[in-house]
Amino acid sequence: MRSAVTAAARTKDERRQVAWAQIDADGWRDWARDLKTHVLTHLDDYLQQAEQSLAANGCKVHWAATGADACDVVVRIAERLSARSVVKAKSMLTEEIGLNGRLEGAGLAVRETDLGEFIIQLLDEPPSHIVGPSLHRSLDDCRRLFHERFGTALDASPETLAATARVVMRDEFLDADLGISGANFLAADTGTVALIENEGNIRISTSIPKVHVALVGIEKLVPRFEDLSGLIQLTARSATGQPIGNYVSLIQGPRRAGERDGPDEVHVVFVDNGRTNLLADPEAWEILRCVRCGACLNTCPVYRQTGGHAYGWAYSGPIGAILAPGLLGLRASMPLPFASSLCGACAEVCPVRIPIPELLVYWRERAAAEGLTPALETATMKIWATLSEHPDAFGVAADAVGALPLDAVGRRLPVVRGWMEERAAPQPSRERFLRTWSRKEEGQ
């Protein structure tokens, strides 16, 4: 599994590098950062404007303070329609709030229609990547799965597997009572829900069922319809290295008089679920600029080794590690802010210039101040702090460490022992650095 994740993340990262080399990368990133910051500092105005535009387009607007409230809104819509089946477009927000479980609990058949989501739904696994949810699964994993579920050959080609999924889901699309999506962005002036994808399942999920429900995080707003042009291109270049997602849906509302198809009802659910808390944070509010492109995951040396499941919730990688404390609370998110080497690669690639390493450090400091760090680490840091302030004691401690037979000790320690099977620990110099330095100075 690790090699699949590493290879996929590297490939995505290489494609992003090529795509960003074709454009004025700094100019695009500055514009996107400033646009999202503008929205976040005028969010109440844009939420109200969007509400009016959506209503004028014939959409029904709902507000949900929590994830549970958002799920309730969707269940109530489904109950009013006596709906039995739902087709879902890939949406990280619905993963975040656990919508599928709630809908299934209410007796609805839920089908994830993105091919990656379809695969992990069959496997009963959570997504391991914001953009490629089944990225941790190899072709052979998929062959075995499709063989067991749909009877395809064990050596079936990827084309055969995809064609099988297409046939299975086509009838489900045509029969579904409800189509559910998230939103990449929502333009306040025209009330446009913007969705980016490559397969066509989002266009179909939002076009064929009689009712479409879009769940939208309140930070997804943009001021103007034409602002979408920059964000759509920037997100695609960061996520997959394409100039644009293969399909972009710009949805203004339900089918109008004279249109031959499209949903009769469109509902937009504005979801807070911790976002206003994050917005109030003096440092961490910048996280709300995130466009969920996944570029920071692809470039992260930790993510490449661990994959997404190690992070334990919907959002993984560096963005997940800074978003979790903001949305779930710091205590519930431990030790995610520590799951990083602070190498800074994530900040280099973020298309909206979120200072991810600084925010990781920020959450770490908050965690230490709130007593959430492990006792051993806290004690070690205290000893270090004391020694640093007392040069004589520091010298004695340094001598003591220098005298330790590190190689022999290391080979007896758990975990370290394994690491040292192919490595030797160099013995530190017995002489203190200051003494060595003085000798050199004297010698000159």
Partner: protein, 198 residues
Amino acid sequence: MSPRNRILGYVRGATASRPRVPHPGRFDGRFLAGDDRPPVDRFVELFLAAGGEVERFADLEDAAQWLYGFAGDFESVTVGATVPGALRPHVPSTCPDLATLGISHALAGVAETGSLVLDSRDGRRTQLLAPTHVVFVRERDIHHTLVGAMVTLKADLPSAVGLHSGPSKSADIGQILVRGVHGPGRIVAAIVGEPGPE
């Protein structure tokens, strides 16, 4: 208090003391800035690179002649509501979920992204369900930039616009690219020169 007012209240409280940042202005980050070829040339390059097919015609008559031959290989077609009468082949017409060929008329094209701009008034199922999709677009309707196309589009928005920039594709099975997962696996941009279909 309603969830709406509570959320808006929290938002105001969170941002009250924060300096307000101005809007950065219209996005002008052009891909291939300085490339002064006609937009149709760049459109063709990108659309082909994304796996699409391109046919170019001098005029409507030329396009119709090609279509009648092309459509002859298909059992049934579904034709968009705004497709000009001349571009309706003599092949049995059926509902979009059964047709093997979909024919649509694009509102516009976009050079910098290689996109066809599709209008819900033309019919969404026709654009999405058939395995092969032919989209007619007038050469003069191809914009240089996406922002330019969107500013034009904004004056008369239908219930939904779809930007289609190549065949349906996915790499979710073992990171291997496959086509035609949900949408059409084959898409042909049929570009009509002057005078275009009216």
